[in-house]
């Protein structure tokens, strides 16, 4: 049974996070290891692109496990979507990816975060740098930009192992072909399909120098991925002359299971 929660208030009133039970409306296979979970939270005062939720699983014996998952859906969407990568030995992600079915309930709290957030009003140009499932909060930003009809130039650099590991591939291609202001650039680090003409290596200084806007354009950068990926990309962006305060980072750790 859902626990009633106090509606979110603004201003000086404390903004307490409360756990709530959400119905699972739909599950979407994104890649062999990645699923999107579409949810209907009973109490949802809206979120910003880049925010996350905490998900809590409770076993029959009372044991609880909690993880953070980025919100994939834009604020404009009616439903709340999380995209989850199944990690080997991940006690939460394996449940979400393999056991959960539509009609189940999932306990979560959120939205959480404010630092790693992009709203159309923040402007740009915006550089999104994604490593693996680090694409998820950045996809919420790209979707938000498209749904809000915003024209801020946005460029995504997305590093994945193979073409089959690229999450949201068709949607990214569609966004890039429909909208001159949005570009999606892939680099495939482990294997490339026949005829691949794109980047085929890990993100490095040269690759970022080719893709990123020059520092003189004062770009706003969001970097999300595994810790080592984030630290490499962020330090290379600093080397390119971006001020540190224009580079927002979020790490997906191996604890994310």
């Amino acid at each position: 049974m859902a626990t009633p929660i106090t509606p979110r208030r603004r201003g000086l009133t404390p903004n307490r996070l409360s756990w709530q039970l959400c119905d699972v409306a739909e599950l979407v296979d994104e890649t062999p290891r990645v699923k999107t979970i579409v949810l209907d939270p009973p109490q949802w005062a809206g979120h910003k692109a880049g925010q996350h939720v905490d998900v809590r699983l409770t076993a029959e014996d009372g044991y609880q496990a909690q993880r953070s998952y980025s919100i994939a859906s834009p604020p404009e969407d009616e439903h709340l979507a999380l995209t989850v990568e199944r990690l080997d030995d991940g006690e939460v992600s394996s449940y979400l990816a393999e056991v959960l079915v539509p009609g189940d309930t999932l306990e979560l709290r959120g939205p959480i975060g404010g630092y790693f957030v992009w709203e159309a009003a923040l402007g740009g140009p915006v550089l999104l740098v994604a490593g693996g499932s680090g694409i998820v909060p950045l996809m919420a930003m790209a979707r938000h930009r498209a749904r809000a009809g915003n024209r801020t130039p946005m460029r995504l650099l997305y590093s994945a192992r193979t073409i089959d590991d690229v999450i949201y591939r068709e949607e990214l291609e569609a966004l890039a072909s429909e909208d001159e202001g949005f570009e999606a650039i892939l680099t495939l680090t482990r294997a490339q399909p026949p005829g691949w003409s794109g980047y085929a290596r890990r993100i490095d200084a040269d690759l970022l120098a080719e893709v990123a806007w020059p520092a003189s354009d004062d770009p706003l950068a969001f970097v999300c991925g595994p810790t080592a990926f984030v630290e490499t990309a962020a330090s290379e962006l600093v080397e390119l002359g971006l001020p540190a305060h224009r580079i927002k980072t979020e790490r997906f750790g191996p604890t994310g299971g």
Partner: protein, 87 residues
């Protein structure tokens, strides 16, 4: 084993159990080195029984937060000289 290093974004939900305000945009001053940074940029180790938050510049411990299952919290903030919250 890979180092289980996260950042302030990952700790935000647990921190907000105590702070009741959006914490990742709060600006803290490190008591060790004087660096001033948003909580979202901090380094977080969350696999211990509690959460350890470290300065992104000097790696000094900013704060530690632990709790039990009964709703009791222990917050140690010796490493934070000042915390600026926007509410």
């Amino acid at each position: 084993m890979q180092e289980l290093k996260l950042d302030g974004n990952a700790a935000a939900g647990t921190m907000e159990e105590v702070f009741a305000f959006e914490i990742t945009t709060a600006v803290g001053t490190c008591d060790n080195c004087g660096a001033v940074a948003e909580f979202g940029t901090t380094t977080v180790y969350a696999q211990a029984p509690g959460i350890v938050v470290r300065c992104p510049q000097c790696e000094g411990v900013l704060l530690r937060l632990a709790h039990d299952d009964g709703g009791r919290y222990w917050l140690e903030m010796r490493g934070v000289r000042c915390l600026e919250l926007r509410v």
